[in-house]
């Protein structure tokens, strides 16, 4: 059977993508950020996942204000990089896993999570930057990716509790898939940041560190954070962190923390990174 072996959390700051695309990764500002992922790259290279489920958010790229799905599962066989206004990022096309995605969709919907099914989608920095951070800049991404887009643009996003429980349902779905597959689930976005309005630039490292602690050892604490608290304490766009709870819900109650990294800033944002392994 398929199984989820680990969870990876990472910020998705667009400027990280720009630094890669413009060849700035060796500048001191950026080595500070990228150095935090060096061990993680080795970790995932050794682990060799068969599939990654990447919980991410679209930034007005695939979804305009015409339709705003709360949870949308990418079931296509490929997801091209989108033009976000600066031209498409020069990264490989993301290959999907339509068979596992269809299985997850069916299982999760019958488990009462009303997902939107996506058969055509371009993906923006929200998905491709975390892939770069974990896999570097290869010619092809090393494994298929199932994108799960979460609305965190139009208020309100789903609650942390809903996200966590969706993670549980995804795990159940993966474990009922007959093929032996090693699956890693990514929670992306965050950490504290605000890029809109006169309060832009807001960072709260204490909130972020407590959030990382909670995810590792006491997820209920993170589940209980209300939306207004995310926005007040972690910045209006810091609410993206609910996506990390989907990842956490897909893991064991007790997990092994194998990697943690935190730095401020990358452009406007606090960068956080965590790797948690299932031990059971």
């Amino acid at each position: 059977m398929a199984r989820i072996v680990a969870g990876v959390c990472s910020s998705h700051v667009p400027a990280i993508g720009a630094a890669i695309d413009l060849g700035k990764t060796q500048e001191p500002y950026w080595t500070r950020v990228f150095s935090g992922f060096e061990e993680s790259k080795r970790w995932i290279e050794e682990l060799k996942p068969d599939v990654c489920i990447v919980v991410f958010n679209d930034h007005a790229t695939a979804f305009s204000m015409d339709f705003v799905p709360t949870f949308a599962l990418g079931c296509a066989s490929e997801f091209p990089p989108a033009d976000e206004g600066w031209g498409p990022r020069p990264v490989p096309v993301v290959k999907g896993h339509p068979k596992l995605a269809a299985h997850i969709a069916q299982s999760v919907i019958l488990d009462e999570f009303d997902l939107t099914i996506v058969n055509k989608m371009e993906v923006d920095h929200g998905l491709t930057v975390p892939l770069n951070l974990m896999f570097g800049s290869p010619k092809e991404w090393p494994c298929p990716v199932i994108p799960l887009a979460v609305n965190v643009v139009l208020f309100p996003p789903p609650t942390g509790k809903r996200c966590f429980n969706l993670g549980r349902a995804i795990r159940k779905a993966v474990e009922s898939y007959p093929e032996d597959l090693k699956v890693v689930i990514f929670g992306t976005g965050g950490m504290s940041h605000q890029i809109s309005g006169p309060r832009a630039g807001f960072i709260n490292s204490e909130f972020d560190k407590n959030f990382l602690d909670a995810l590792a050892t006491d997820p209920q604490k993170a589940i209980d954070i209300r939306h207004v608290e995310y926005m007040r304490e972690a910045g209006a766009e810091g609410i993206e962190m609910v996506m990390w709870l989907v990842m956490r819900g897909a893991l064991d109650d007790d997990v092994k923390e194998v990697r943690r990294f935190y730095t401020v800033p990358a452009s406007n944002t606090a960068v956080g990174h965590l790797i948690l392994e299932n031990v059971g």
Binding site: A60, G85, W86, L154, S196, R199, A200, G201, I203, S267
Partner: protein, 132 residues
């Protein structure tokens, strides 16, 4: 001061993009969405005002776009991920747009971020901003 209508109205310097704003700003965001295509970016640059007339915008909304009033666009229902595409069309990064919204220069803003960003203390509630 009028009483806060929504719990999050008390967060200072923040325009929470809820459905009320999304409804109001549908035209702004629909316009910004078209800037994902290079040919549209070119057409917009060629004649901004005529290009904007294709969309359902109030005079205030159209003005805020033409004058690049980044906060005003958000106040009138624009969302930052959409208006950032206008920034991109102007050759601006997210950070450059953010700096403009805070009323600081790019250098001042980047320096604030390098020093750890805007501190939560004094920036959690509107009452704290009113005291300044």
């Amino acid at each position: 001061m009028t009483e806060a209508k929504k719990e999050y109205d008390d967060i200072p310097g923040t325009f929470v993009f809820d459905q009320e704003r999304s409804r109001q700003g549908y035209g702004i965001n629909a316009f910004c969405m078209t800037l994902l295509k290079d040919e549209n970016r070119k057409a917009f640059r060629a004649n901004e005002s005529a290009y904007l007339d294709q969309f359902s915008l109030t005079p205030e909304q159209k003005d805020s776009i033409l004058q690049r009033q980044w906060n005003r666009m958000l106040e009138l229902g624009g969302n930052i991920y959409f208006t950032a595409k206008l920034g991109a069309t102007d050759g601006l990064s997210f950070q450059q747009v953010a700096a403009k919204m805070t009323g600081s220069t790019q250098e001042e803003y980047a320096a604030m971020m390098l020093a750890g960003g805007r501190n939560p203390n004094g920036n959690r509630s509107k009452s704290e901003w009113e005291k300044r």
